[in-house]
Amino acid sequence: MIFLLTLIGLSSLPLQEAPRSLDQSALAAYRDGNPVAASTLWSQALETATSEQERGRLCYNLGNAAYRRGEVVQAVAWYHAALRYTPRDGDLWANLEFCRAEAELDPADRGDLTDSFQRLLSSLTRGESEWLWACALVFLAVAATGESLRGSALWRRLFVGALMVQLFCAGPLLWHLVHDGQDTWMVTALDGCGGHSEPSDEAKQLAHFEAGAVLEELDQLPDWVKLADSQGRGLWVRTKDAFSLVR
């Protein structure tokens, strides 16, 4: 069975760092007090970066640059985007909560049971979640082999324990499977934005989305994105008023 696991075909993605020159130029611009130029350069670097860790770092830096430009809600959105790649970055969480407080939004982690549980589930990246489950599967394979060959009470308990460990270790991966497929957007317009029945300014405005609201994408057109409101209705919002959290 262990041999079967080795056949899974583990492979690692090659590291693709953002071009160093772009990154250094962006950093220099940021240090010189030019967050606009820094944002542009880091955005270009983000387009070429493929490593999750590097993408998380660039999103974090872009959040800082957005804050320095005075766009606090957009900074919040960048930090949320970075959380997908570096969910346990302490600086990232601190900056996120700081900016959410500045923008008068509720904390991302209120510290209650629901938020704590959600943060626990999302504290691993997709790759880490899969490796965690793979380790649990190795444990299960060993316990299953022992139980089938020996069948003693100890092996039986180990096998049942291994099954329970599966449930615990598969949780983060299940969370990613549910959430990673969602293209979510955050409303970044300071006064919120209107949700229109059709992708036109003349169309009737059926809802008003507050700044900081996170909504799921249903469709997209040039300059417009269709987002699902709390009632499940698809409403069109101008892309300049919202920010895609999938970067």
């Binding site: 069975m1 583990l10 830096n61 700081f98 509720d106 299960l140 299953a144 089938s148």
Partner: protein
């Protein structure tokens, strides 16, 4: 025509007989159970259609002063009988409807419209007369009255309905008939903190109400037991609220029910006066823009969990609004929109309601050390007494907000001095853990479980339970032999240890291997052991026997037996 054909024709006619019978003689009968009733008593309207099942009531009657219940039915009955060699069939449909008069007088109930076999029928031919008389005896022995009912209220203003009823009779059953129970259009019941009643009396035959017994009262010099049904309502829209007469029915027990006989009761009725309440709209004139719907006579109080807080810390401000008002229904003030709270951040709001009290807890975070007080929380309330809008506000709460950067405090800087953590300047060389593929992992999980199930099934089918005592002994035989040889100090003990080893491995008693000819045993097996192995084994046995039967009983070299045992295990013994 032979007799078999005649018999068949007779059966056909017999089967057709009910059909023809059912199609003849449709009759409709509509009648009252009683033409004369006492006020408060109930009677029934019975609608009976005979001869068809295709009938329905087009429109139930409606007469002012009579409350008609819902139409019960249809109840369909069908009967067939052989009489004088003929089969007759009868089918009928019946409905019933309860009627409860609300006043004394003569009533004419118009004919009822029915649709029978597709035709409209009105029955009976003449209007039905009903005479309702006062229950004079009931009025003597029972009473029911509404106390202090307001004649007018404002929309959103709560009002109390206090119904008192009682009797001077001793033993009996109580029934209340309240047309406005359990819900009435235009009002909402408001929960109060009043204790639950001492009795639960049936209301309208279907519901129950909690009723409190008050102190006995004298009426015309006779002591009466008095009960109170108190409820608080809140008018939800302007207009006139009609409360029809309520009926109190007391059934005095003449004879109690026993196993052999049903009980006998004498019913007395008393009725209250109907009343109206005019509901006025809250005036537009003088209505503040930030009025949030509060109506009543309310006061307010505030409480904080602490008054000395660090900058960025949380203060729980609990504001309560008490009094007679629509405490459950107005919107609590939004502190984010109130002036004076600019230096506070409102993190959360907990809203709760307790009978006459509305309690809202705000989690406030002072963002400046210059704050010295929590400002008043104002709210506009429409007062039905003065018919004006009154501003009720909490008292301010003095607080001290310490700057966490104060030298005296010795704390790190926070609050306005907070800033972002710096950018991450160094590109990250770590790739992180590459995804393995959830599908492949899921497949591996299923495979592991499948292989486990297959493996354990095959193992148990071909080799038996691996956890059985015999299997466990077989696996542990070599280990036990090594242990036994270490502690044995005579050839006879070594011989016994070797016999135990063989017994454990072969699933036999150890005694079976004492003195056994191993060559003969090997030949009796399907696949004999190698000759050299058998020679060693025989030599060991001979040496053991020789030593054991000598006076010295000296042990032989234990490693020989261990090597032999390992070789036997390797051969699959």
């Amino acid at each position: 025509m032979n007799s078999r054909v005649q018999q068949g024709l007779l059966w056909v006619l017999a089967l057709m007989a009910p059909v023809s019978g059912a199609q003849q003689g449709v009759s409709v009968d509509v009648s009252l159970s009683r033409p004369l009733v006492k006020l408060g008593d109930e009677l029934h309207l019975r609608i009976h259609v005979d001869g068809t099942r295709d009938a329905r009531v087009v429109q139930p009657p409606s007469v002012e002063g009579l409350i008609f219940g819902s139409l019960a039915g249809p109840q369909i009955s069908q009967m067939q009988e052989f009489q004088g060699g003929r089969v007759t069939s009868r089918i009928s449909v019946e409905w019933a409807m309860s009627i409860r008069p609300t006043r004394v007088g003569e009533f004419e109930i118009p004919p009822i419209s029915l649709e029978v076999d597709g035709k409209t029928v009105r029955a009976p031919a003449q209007a039905m007369s009903l005479r309702v008389i006062q229950d004079l005896e009931g009025a003597t022995h029972c009473f029911i009255e509404s106390m202090d009912v307001p004649t007018r209220v404002f929309e959103g203003e709560p009002f109390d309905l206090d119904l008192r009823f009682g009797t001077d009779l001793a033993a009996g059953e109580v029934d209340l008939y309240l047309p406005w129970w359990p819900s009435h259009r235009g009002v909402l019941e408001v929960k109060t903190g009043n204790p639950r009643g001492t009795y639960r009396f049936p209301v309208n035959d279907r519901h129950e109400a909690s009723v409190t017994e008050l102190d006995p009262a004298q009426r015309n010099g006779v002591p009466f037991r008095v009960f109170q049904l108190a409820r608080r309502y809140l008018a939800t829209r302007p207009g006139t609220l009609e409360f029809n007469a309520a009926t109190f029915q007391f059934s005095e027990v003449i004879r109690r029910s026993t196993v052999f006989a049903t009980g006998r009761y004498k019913r007395y009725h008393a009725q209250s006066e109907p009343f109206q309440i005019e509901v006025l709209p809250v005036p537009e004139e003088g209505r503040p823009l930030d009025w949030t719907g509060a109506v009543g006579e309310l006061t307010t109080q505030r409480r904080v969990d602490r008054r000395d807080v660090d900058e960025g810390g949380t203060i729980s401000l609990t504001v309560s609004w008490f009094g007679r008002g629509n405490t459950e229904f107005f919107a609590a003030p939004d502190l984010k929109r109130l002036s004076g709270f600019e230096d506070f951040r409102v993190l959360g709001v907990e809203d709760s309601h307790f009978s006459d009290e509305r309690r809202v807890t705000y989690d406030l975070v002072p963002t400046s050390s210059k704050i010295t007080e929590i400002p008043p929380v104002p709210m506009w309330v429409f007062s039905p007494v003065s018919e004006t809008f009154v501003r009720v506000a909490t008292d301010p709460v003095a607080v001290r907000v310490r700057s966490v950067g104060d030298p005296e405090g010795g704390m790190p800087l926070a609050g306005d001095e907070l800033d972002l953590f710096d950018v991450h300047p160094d590109p990250i060389s770590e790739t992180g853990l590459a995804p393995l593929g959830a599908g492949r992992l899921g497949g591996a999980a299923v495979s592991i479980l499948g292989l486990w199930f297959l493996g354990r099934t095959l193992i148990r089918r071909h080799q038996g339970d691996p956890n059985a005592p015999r299997a466990r002994r077989r696996r542990a035989a070599l280990r036990r032999l090594r242990t036994a040889l270490k502690v044995s100090d005579s050839a006879s003990e070594q011989s016994l240890a070797l016999a135990r080893f063989m017994g454990d491995r072969m699933g036999e008693p150890a005694g079976a291997w004492l003195g056994r000819d191993v060559v003969e045993w090997s030949e009796s097996m399907g696949a004999p052991l190698e000759e050299s192995l058998l020679r060693d084994w025989s030599a060991i046995c001979a040496d053991l026997d020789a030593s054991a039967w000598s006076d010295a009983d000296q042990p032989i070299d234990g490693s020989r037996m261990v090597n032999l045992a390992q070789a036997l295990c390797a051969k699959g013994l």
